[in-house]
Amino acid sequence: MEFIKNFPFITIVLSLFCAVICYAFKDKKARFVSYFLLVLSGALSASVLAYNLFSETGYFAYRMGHYDAPIGNEISAGILEPFFALLFETVMFLSLVGGANRILKDVDKSKHRFFYIMINLTHAALMSLCYTNDIYTAYVFIEICTIASCALLMASKKDRSLVAATRYTIFSLIGSSLVLIGIVLLYSVTGHLLFPQIFEAIQTLWATGEYTAPLTIALGLIISGLAIKSGMFPFHWWMPDTYGTATPSASGILSGVVSKGYIFLLLKMIYRVIGINVYMESGINNILLVCGILGMVAGSVSAIRTNKITFMTAYSSAAQIGYIYMGIGLGTKAALLASLFQIVAHALTKPMLFLSAGGLSDTVGGKQDFDSLRSSAHYNKSAGIAFAAGSLSMVGIPIFAGFIPKMLFAISAFGHGWQTYIVLLALAISTILNVIYFLRTLINIYSPAIVDLERKKITLGTVKAFSVIVLVMAAVNIAVGLHSQPIISLFEKGIEIFMNIR
């Protein structure tokens, strides 16, 4: 069974290898290589998760190369790492299969295989962000992830995608440069690159009061860099263009998975590198809390104001990411649990919303404004059902996955002093705002048409893969909402290991 410890490394190398061999294949084969990679990697991640669940410590560190820590490089896995790797792979696979038809339409034929190469690279980068135990490796794979994501965005035939890609690239570059200088400062203060060694050095320095200012600056730079890249308020302005112009699969992957990869790395930085005590004492948690809450409200207000379905879904991402940052800002175990569940709920819901929004706009010749989309749910029934399920989940209706994190956030808010009132108020306001824009859209797509347009009926038979996938996503969403306890128990166990074992 010791062989399972090789699986995280194999997953990363396999993705890089598949990216290379995809270049030699034609479009269809490249697509199947990507599917095969995601399924196989998913199986490997599930094995690592099962191994750690039944092993004594629930955690292992894997030496890369010939040298032990602190000289060599390492990857490590507890329970949260393979769980999120598995989640990312599942969501990527569902988004790709569900949006395969639109990829054929939206991406230039000569670029199909490059699209799948970039999918494989994104996958490699995300796996590394999940598993790495080395701060500089994390930086390199942040950059690989950014380059691959930009390329996914640029692949769309729409001219506007170039402008969206430029905006996304610039924001990403600002974020990565802040992370880089933060990492370099941290290295100059601690002299280490591996997480456990940096953690020990920071704890010692913080206890003695040495280098407090450089440490706080480094911490601030790393957190703000990752926050910019994941779209925290006020850095969420790249989101509507980015998610609105990409092909639905790419939008789903970028919003549901890539931004969550950065957030998971941020959690690793806070809990495994910096230490939760240093993070809380530095006061940065309050900034994240305030930005998270403002993001919840500002994202929702922007979503109400827009009149395009993809832009609305994109702005809703900004609001949902605000929830995650609110939990990170509270900084307790209960809030971390709520944030982790929010990552799961959002990763499962948002790709479904983007795919179904794409399916709805297909019925009216690609138009995305609400007036044109009226009655579209009757022309593409599976997209309508999936959009309804996604909307109800985002609003936080019980039985859907989105309800659980909202409940967990409310529970975690108690006992914090002034933060309690702000968090509860923000939850209430945000839920009302969510209701306004999601239910408005839902009513809209099921209401009789008011614009005379040529409409195309999309039946289950014509887009089988799309229909099956969006309905499966809706079913998974409800299943997670109904049976959340096993995931919560797994997270509780995972958080203990995440915070304490190095």
């Binding site: 500089y136 430029t166 690239t169 610039i170 570059l173 200088i181 370099v184 100059s188």
Partner: protein, 125 residues
């Protein structure tokens, strides 16, 4: 007076600030790419200066195989700089490719003008 002793670090921070300002505030996309490179150069100077220890040797094992670790400079920052250079070259290439496509489409390198032209195109309607 610390700035005079740590002049390499001070220079690197100045370079980083110049590059970062160019990346954030410049309207011209080519200047943004230049800013990115200047900023990265600042970081590499910072890293390289951290690894250098005066009067120590290059970390190459001599022919006779006798190694005394304290005789050499720290080789890890050099490795990090090399990795970082590869990353920044890749990003510059991506940005330049994007710039070529943007220029072909909009005939300008000014991002404000590009955004303006783009928003007037009624693509979604």
């Amino acid at each position: 007076m610390n700035f005079l002793i740590n002049y390499e670090e001070a220079t690197s921070m100045v370079l980083f600030a110049i590059g970062f300002t160019m990346l954030v505030f410049s309207k011209n996309i080519m200047k943004k790419i230049l800013g990115l490179n200047i900023m990265d150069t600042g970081v590499y100077l910072f890293l390289a200066s951290m690894g250098y220890i005066e009067s120590k040797l290059t970390p190459i094992v001599p022919a006779n195989g006798e190694v005394n670790v304290s005789d050499y400079i720290n080789p890890i920052p050099a490795g990090l700089v090399l990795t970082g250079i590869v990353v920044s070259v890749s990003f510059s290439a991506l940005m330049l490719a994007l710039t070529v496509r943007l220029y072909k489409k909009y005939r300008t390198l000014n991002l404000d003008e590009i955004y303006e032209k783009c928003s007037t195109e009624d693509e979604y309607e």
